[in-house]
Each structure stands twice: as structure tokens, then as C-alpha cells.
Amino acid sequence: MDGLVDSLMEELNCQVAFTIPIFGGIDVLESVAVTWIIMGIMMVATLILVHGLKVRKIGTKQAVLESGFTFIWNFFEELLGKEGTDYIPYLITVVLYIGIANMIGLLGFKSPTKDLNVTISLAVMSIILVEVAGIRKKGVKGWIKSFAEPIPIIAPINVLELFIRPLSLCMRLFGNVLGAVVVMALIKYLVPLVAPLPFSFYFDIFDGVIQAYVFVFLTSLYIKEAIE
């Protein structure tokens, strides 16, 4: 049982990758380091995939890239409408990042989304994006007035939403990934052979994609609501 606890704690704790020796030492956590790796993967993949795009006589690579890009773009455009296309690049970045981050455990890294700091960052950025979208659409006055809609009495609830939404986004992502890791650790402890495989497909791949989808889906809905 001690072994299980140790391995769980090992899985759950976010180690300090290294320390920047300024301001009395800033600890850089593993999640940030893994994020850099993910960024590297995404950037290199982007440069390779986007290199040499053509209008006519496209190759398989470009066909796959175009259909994938069009699929994601249309998905967000349907959610956001024509007015919200400015926010699609950010949402594409986030869905790719969370998707890869949730699945990078398969490569032996610790998922950055398992670290609360990362999900807090994502949630805070999402809520800032939502409110900025609202301000851009309605102006500062309109944005403030929109808290009193549909009736002024629910204004406190609308203000509360400003904190509830990012909190729920952050905790949903964090909790799902953390829960998946814990369950996988338990399964691996109980049955080390074969049995973890289908569960790994579910928790590492399917759940990872679903959580990325849910995160950007909800963010899109909030933006849509803000720019209506």
C-alpha cells in the first residue's frame, strides 16, 4: 500500500524542474517545462505542415491539413457566428494545446493540465477573452450594463459568474485530468498487465480530447453570449 501511495504522490506532485536564480530564486515547475516541449512540438509541426502550401494540385499532406483546419474553423464559426471569427485563432491554439497536453502522458511526460497553475492560467485567459470580447462589441458602458440584464435584480449573479465561469473551467479540466491519472495509477497497481490498456485509451486519449473540446466549447459559448 505504501508503494501505491508513493507512486500516486509521485504522479500527482508537480516537481520543480529548475530554479531561476533571480529574486531569491524562482521555481520553474515541471508543467511549464513540459509546456515548452509541447510548444516546440506544435511550432515545428506547424512549420513543417504549412511549408509549401499550394492553391492547385495539393498533396495528401495539405489535403489533410486543409480538411482538419476547415473542420475546426467551421466548428468554431458555427458556435461564434461571423462576428466572432477574430477569436477563432486563440481557440484553435488552446484546443490543440490542451489536447496535446492531456495526451502527452503517453510519451512519459507529466501532463501540464494536471497542474492547477496551468488550468488557472487557461481559465483566467478565457474569462479575460470573454470579457474583452464583450467590451469590444458593446463598449465599456454597454458591457457594464449587460450585467443588469435581463433584469437588474440578478446583477449580483451575473457578477458572480465572472468568477464562477473561470473557476469551473479551471477545476473541470484539472479535476478530470487528475482523476484520470489517479484512476490509471490504481488500475496499474491492481492489474499491471494488459488490463490498463483499454482504460488508458479511455482516460488518456478519449478523455483528454473530450476535455479539450469541452474547454473551448464552453469558452466559445461564453464569447458568443458576450458578443450577442
Binding site: S31, V32, T46, L47, E66, Y90, D115
Partner: protein
Amino acid sequence: MLNINFWNIAFTVINLLVLYFFMRHFLVKPMQAILEERKQMVERDLDDATRSKQEAEKMKREYEASIQNADAEADRIVETAKARGTEEYNRILAQAKTDATKKMEEADRTIALEREKTLSDLRASVADLAMVATAKLLAEQSGPQNDRNCYDAFLSQSGEKHD
């Protein structure tokens, strides 16, 4: 796990912003550019195709019209030629008939005139002959010898005249 660390939140935010600007510049913009270009190209090609088709149809209509005109023209020319031919034929035939009739009448008239003339000539000759014969008969004494001479003279004279 649950240690919230300001610096790491800041790092993650910076990471995400860098990633966002990178992806926007290197993935979204080129993809949008290429898709937009393709869309315009397709629209242009479709427009061209539509225009070409319309032109082709217009030309086809024109050709058909001109061919029909040509047919009608040919028919008309043949009809005119036929009509003129028939007319000419009838005219020539009528002319020939008229001419023939006229010629026949002329011939008849000529023949009749000839006959009249011959008859009157003959009549004058016979009268002359009678006169001469009578004179001869009165001038000479009659007798068989005389009669004989008289007939001979008559016959020889009238034979000379009618030679």
C-alpha cells in the same frame, strides 16, 4: 499538486500568448490565405465557364439562324427559277404557236394569190389565142388544108407560149 504559484501562472500565460501569436501567424493566416485564394480561383473559373458557355450558346443560335436563312434563301431561289422557267417555256410555246399559225396563213394566202394570178394569166392567154385563131380563120380561105394549117399554127403557138 495544489500549490498555486504566481510565477508559474505568469509563465504559462506568457507561453500561451507566445504560442497563440505563433499559431496565428504561421498556421491560421497562411491557411486562410490559401483557402481564400482557392475560393476566389474557383469562383473565377466558374464565372469564366459560365461566360464561355453563354457565348457558345449565342454563337450556336446565330449559326442555326443563318443556316435556316440559307435554306430559305435556297428554296426561294429554286422556286423563282422554276417559276421563271415555266413562264419562259409557256411564252416560247405560245410564240411558236402564233408564229406557226401566221406562217400557215401567209402560205395559204400566197398560194391563193399565185393561183389567182395563174388563172387570170391563163384566161388572158386563152382569149388572145381565140382572137388570133379567129383572125387567122377569117384571113385565110377555109378548106381542109387550111384547117389543118390552122390547127398546127394554133398548137405550135400555144405550145411555144406554154414552154
